[in-house]
Each structure stands twice: as structure tokens, then as C-alpha cells.
Amino acid sequence: MSSLPLDGLTVLEMGEGVSAAFCSKLLAAHGAEVMKVDPIARGSATDEGLYEYLHSGKRSIAIDIETDDGREVIRRLVLRAEALVENFEAGYLASIGLPFEDLRRRKPRLLMTSITPFGQGIVHSGDAEAESRGAGTPGDRVGHPDAEYIAGIQAFAATSVGLYACNYQEVGQWIDISVQACLVASLAVDWGGSRLIEIPFPVTAEGRRPTAEPGSSIRFSDVEPDQAGAPVPGEHTEEILADIGLRGDEIAGLRDRGVI
């Protein structure tokens, strides 16, 4: 019996909205253990069908990451994970004391995939970084209702390839995914000629096939993707804390202090 391709790999998901959630959902479907970090305030999902779709196959820990205790838990979770996928605003994790450089010092093979609307605003040249913040304003220069999903798919691909590479090269890195760049990369444009391209698709009536279900995008011939349901936010908090070595009294302490 063959294994799912991401069996044995753990992914930590942080953030809110669609892109990181969709990326991690796809990783979970192919065998990754995904731990989703949720806020402690229990808002109800506005769209339960979408919530079920985006978070299938994950476990959830609800914790306040803006506390010292909460951040220390995150650092310990990172030690257990091969990848961190997040879509907080650019610079947010660094601003609360969880910058990539710190996480990488603790976990040298860590792959961090960050998804933001316009990128992190940093140009990487291998060893050095240069701040190069664009003056752009979020807006409608190019938009698409599927933009967050397209970015999520790019992040899924980047994290899958990145997990393989960081594993065999034995060194991690930070992948900066910009929703805008993903959308632009998907445009049918001849940039050299600065023109849109018409792509004619040949479609004939014969040979029509049944419509596929979402989730059947990738099929390994020898194993079925995972079909588990979505967690209730915070459903696995205690079990995950126990996994990283917290004792019952420590967990109770976190609860008393409002961290979980």
C-alpha cells in the first residue's frame, strides 16, 4: 500500500482569508499534517460551506499569538513543522516577534511560504536583502475573483517543491508569494509586444466527459487523497499542546491567562 506523498510532513498554517487556507487544504489532502492556528475569539463562520471546503483535513489550535506565551508555543510548533504557510499582512509576524530569521535559526530547514497581496516588498539577492517598497496602492490595476485561489495554488506548488528541496538540500528558505504577481503570471499577455493574447480553445461536442469534482485536480495512481472534514476552531488545542510537551498544569495556566 503506497503512502500519500506528503506523509510524515507537518505544516503550520497561520493567517486568515482564503489563500493560505486553500494552500494548506491542498497539502492536507495529499497527506501533510496541517495545524491551523486560529484566534481565540470564537466568531462563527459566515459561510459554513466555504469553511468546510477550505479547512478539510486540518487540526486547529486556538491561541493568542500576541502574547509572549502564545508566541513561545508558536516557536515550539515551528520546531515540529517542516513548513509554515501564512498570509498575514506583510511584516506582521516580524512585528510581533516571529520573524523568519529567528524561526530559521531554531529550525534551519524551515520552509516559510508567505502570501500577501503585493509581496513582502523585499528584493532578495541570495545573501543580502534590499528594502524596495513600492508606492503602489491596493486597488483594481488587475483583479480577478479567483485571485486568492490562484495564489493559493501557487503557494501549494511552491510549498510542495520547497519541502522537497529544503529536505534534500538540508537548508530552508522563505518564499514570498504575491497575489498580484500570481495573477499577472497567469495573464494571457505577450509582454514583449505589450498586448493581450487570444487563446482559441478547440472544443467539440464528441468525447464530452463527466464534470470532475473539486479535489480531483491531482491523482496519484496508487493512493487516494485524504477526505477528512474540517475542524471546529480550537478543537485540537490541548492535544497539540500535549504533543509539544506541555503538561496539564501548563496548559491550564495558559487557559487561565487567556492565551488559549
Binding site: F118, G121, R141, P145, W174, D176, A185, W191, T211, A212
Partner: protein
């Protein structure tokens, strides 16, 4: 010098459809040596083809005739991963796996399947390339298959479904009805080339092609901190890397190459 994620990995692109082309483009972008075989026409790549096939190597060996079958199978054995279309004639997954039982084969939808899936999705794709989205799923499949083989030694045959890929987008929104889908703004390419945020990540790159000057194209969509990636090679001209593939990789000598040329299976570039 930091090695790109797929540096040292060889990928054989036997698939001829656009989804296969976009998949191998991303793999080439992050360092893989992607080899395309011939029989695709004699034209120098320009426009969309110049963008889709950058960072790849091209050999004019046509994989379709029986005369090239053994050579193509040897190339699959020299590759870490092979990309084929599910509706292509010639060598298929069974033969590839028969040659090496730990092969990784990605089976992509051909252009017909892609067109059908776009039609059935009933979405507004007017300014997007669905092939690039489907291709990106294949990139994920490649990463996952390589990871599993490294851990367990098993190969993989992975089918990428155009319909599944496109329908996976905003599945819940789809239930709201097609009238809600078509709100994409047509982009102005000239304005995007000047966009400050895209410039901040150096997204567009000037690429030189011999005899065609320098033109801009979209760069690498993933900005990687330790191994920043760029357009390293323009799209290959037909037969540009024949010597590398036929002589260096396959070890063929002058007389063997001459036979292939005489049979019309290899089309050397004019001197």
C-alpha cells in the same frame, strides 16, 4: 553559490499541450533542466511561445516515429521526471514505467481536454491562461512525487485533471451561479509593466534572444529568499541543444546522428 530548488534535476517534456508547457516552465524556472523534444514545428519561438518555453532546452529529435522510440525511452531513464499528455500518440506511461519502475510520470490534459474543461467551467477566463493554473497543480504534483520517491524509493504516475483543477477554484462561489463570476478587469499590459509593486520585486525581466533583440517578459512568480530565480535562458530555437542531448546525454556519434538526420527524425539547424 546557492543551488536552485530543482538544480541538477532533469525533466523530459514529451507533452505538447499548453498545460504541460506551463508546468515544465515553472519547474525550469526553479532550476530544473527541462528538455523538450522536436516535431513541434520549425518556427523560432516568439510571443507567447518565447515566454512559455524560457529556461528550457530543445532537441529536434521527433518522439513520434518508431525510429526514435528507443532513444526517447533512454532519455526517460536519464530524467528525474517525465511530463506527457494523456491524449498523445507514441510513448505513454506504461512504456516509461516499464523501462524504469521508479519513474515519475505526470500525465497532463492535452489542449482538447483543457478547452473542454474551460467550456464546462462556464467562467470568465477571458484574460487568464487556464493552462497556467492547471500547470501549477502539476508543479505541486512534481514536488510531492519527488519528495515521496526520496523517502520511499517509489515512483509515481500522477494524473492532473483540467476539470478538477479549474473547478477547485472557489468551489463554494461556483454554487452562487455563473452570473457572479465574470467581474475580471481586462489588464493593461503597458501599465502593469510600470506597476510599482511588480517593480519592487523585479517581476519583469529583459530577455535577449539572438537575432531578436531584447524584450520584457514575466519573471519567476516565486520570490525565494536564499535562491532568487531569474530567466536564465531564452526559449530554445528548434534543435538548439541537439548536440547536448544526442551526443552528450545519449552518447551518439557522427554516423548515428547522420542516420537520424537522413530518416528525418532529427532536423539539424542550418549552419
Amino acid at each position: 553559490m546557492n543551488r536552485l530548488p530543482l538544480s541538477g534535476h532533469r525533466i523530459l517534456e514529451l507533452g505538447r499541450g499548453l498545460a504541460a508547457a506551463y508546468a515544465t516552465r515553472q519547474l525550469a524556472d526553479v532550476g530544473a533542466e527541462v528538455i523538450q523534444l522536436g516535431g513541434r514545428g520549425e518556427l523560432e519561438p516568439e510571443g507567447l511561445n518565447a515566454q512559455v518555453h524560457r529556461n528550457k532546452y530543445g532537441c529536434s529529435l521527433d518522439p513520434r516515429p518508431a525510429a526514435s522510440r528507443e532513444l526517447v525511452l533512454r532519455l526517460t531513464a536519464l530524467s528525474n521526471l517525465v511530463v506527457i499528455d494523456d491524449d498523445q500518440p507514441g510513448i505513454g506511461r506504461d512504456e516509461i514505467v516499464g523501462r524504469n519502475d521508479d519513474s515519475i510520470v505526470l500525465v497532463m490534459p492535452g489542449d482538447h481536454d483543457l478547452g473542454l474543461a474551460v467550456h464546462e467551467a462556464a467562467r470568465d477566463w477571458s484574460s487568464l491562461q487556464p493552462a497556467s493554473i492547471v500547470g501549477m497543480f502539476a508543479v505541486a504534483a512534481a514536488g510531492m512525487a519527488l519528495q515521496r520517491r526520496r523517502m520511499t524509493g517509489e515512483g509515481a504516475q500522477v494524473t492532473v485533471s483540467a476539470a478538477g483543477a479549474l473547478l477547485s477554484l472557489s468551489a463554494a462561489r461556483r454554487e452562487a451561479g455563473p452570473e457572479q463570476a465574470a467581474t475580471a478587469l481586462p489588464p493593461d499590459p503597458a501599465a502593469l509593466l510600470e506597476d510599482e509593486d511588480l517593480k519592487a520585486r523585479a517581476f519583469f525581466e529583459p530577455v535577449a534572444r539572438p537575432g531578436a533583440g531584447v524584450s520584457m517578459m514575466d519573471g519567476i512568480s516565486w520570490a525565494m529568499s536564499r535562491t532568487p530565480a531569474h530567466v536564465r535562458l531564452p526559449a530554445p530555437a528548434p534543435g538548439e541543444h541537439d548536440d547536448y542531448v544526442l551526443r552528450t546525454l545519449l552518447g551518439l556519434g557522427d554516423s548515428e546522428v547522420a542516420v537520424l538526420v537522413a530518416e528525418g527524425v532529427v532536423t539539424p539547424r542550418p549552419a
